[in-house]
Amino acid sequence: MSECKDTFHLQSGTDPNRVVCPSQDGCPKTHEEDIMDIPLDDPEANKAAAKIQASFRGHMTRKKMKEDKPREEVKA
């Protein structure tokens, strides 16, 4: 993964490895430093993430059902 060459790359907080790229959309490069901050192996973090993701997926399915409903009623 190559480093972002964005000139506005800043160091955030006291951790010199923590880099924040403000132009998230404009910057296609992956930020290795950010990823190293993510606790990939921590079972508690993964469990918490799975719970949050479950709520997000629930929300999106219900939102989609709401949006699709008028079409369903017409079909029936």
């Binding site: 955030s12 907080g13 923590r18 924040v20 790229c21 403000p22 998230q24 959309d25 950010d34 990823i35 993510i38 606790p39 990939l40 973090a45 993964n46 469990k47 918490a48 993430a49 799975a50 719970k51 949050i52 993701q53 479950a54 709520s55 997000f56 997926r57 629930g58 929300h59 999106m60 399915t61 219900r62 939102k63 059902m65 709401k66 409903k69 369903e72 009623e73």
Partner: protein, 193 residues
């Protein structure tokens, strides 16, 4: 259509009805399978109105016309009915099917009901506070916001990884002009539907 589709536990909620069948003796070089769930012990406690609503929702997912749904649709039906099971929990109530089974096997409504009841009864269901505190971990500045970009990475690399399309759908319109998200407002929004 009256939106009474949320599956709620009956008021007098009994203690967890999970009773695992004894796990098979694990082989030394194989990770023990999670204990099988005994759904016959689950008492289905939905009201007649709920039963009717759930049957209707179930029917919407039947694209074949055999009054059944595919295993891989069960998670979405439960979500449509107001639940937020993890994919792992759904696979567990389905009896830990293989990927082929998930795509090929079909489930009838009466078999679906105890599965739904089990999910509804789950004492570990996520609450508003759970989600907020989960996101607060990523609030580096302690100001109630998380960076959208960081949340995208978390959602795509931890837990039950979300695809880019799923993440885009979720985050649409949520980030402010600085790319930040107020996570309490975000969670309220998520829980409102």
């Amino acid at each position: 259509m009256a939106p009474k589709k949320d599956a709620k536990a009956a008021p007098a909620r009994k203690p967890s009805l999970q009773s695992a069948a004894p796990a098979p003796a694990p082989e030394p070089d194989v990770v023990a399978a999670p204990p099988a769930l005994d759904l016959s012990k689950v008492k289905v406690e939905f009201t007649p109105d709920q039963h009717e609503d759930y049957k209707e929702a179930f029917g919407l997912f039947d694209r074949v016309g055999d009054s059944k749904v595919a295993y891989n649709q069960v998670a979405d039906i439960m979500r449509a009915l107001g639940q937020n099971p993890t994919n792992k929990e759904v696979r567990k109530v389905l009896g830990n099917p293989s990927d082929e089974d998930m795509a090929a096997k079909r489930l009838e409504f009466e078999a679906f009901l105890p599965m739904l009841q089990h999910i509804v009864n789950d004492p570990n269901k996520g609450t508003f506070d759970d989600y907020v505190e989960g996101l607060r971990v990523f609030d580096k500045e302690g100001n109630g916001t998380v960076m959208g970009a960081e949340l995208r990475i978390v959602l795509g690399t931890l837990g039950e990884k979300m695809s880019e399309a799923e993440i885009d759908g979720l985050m649409q319109g949520q980030e402010d002009e600085n790319g930040s998200i107020n996570f309490e407002a975000f969670v309220k929004h998520i829980m409102s539907i």
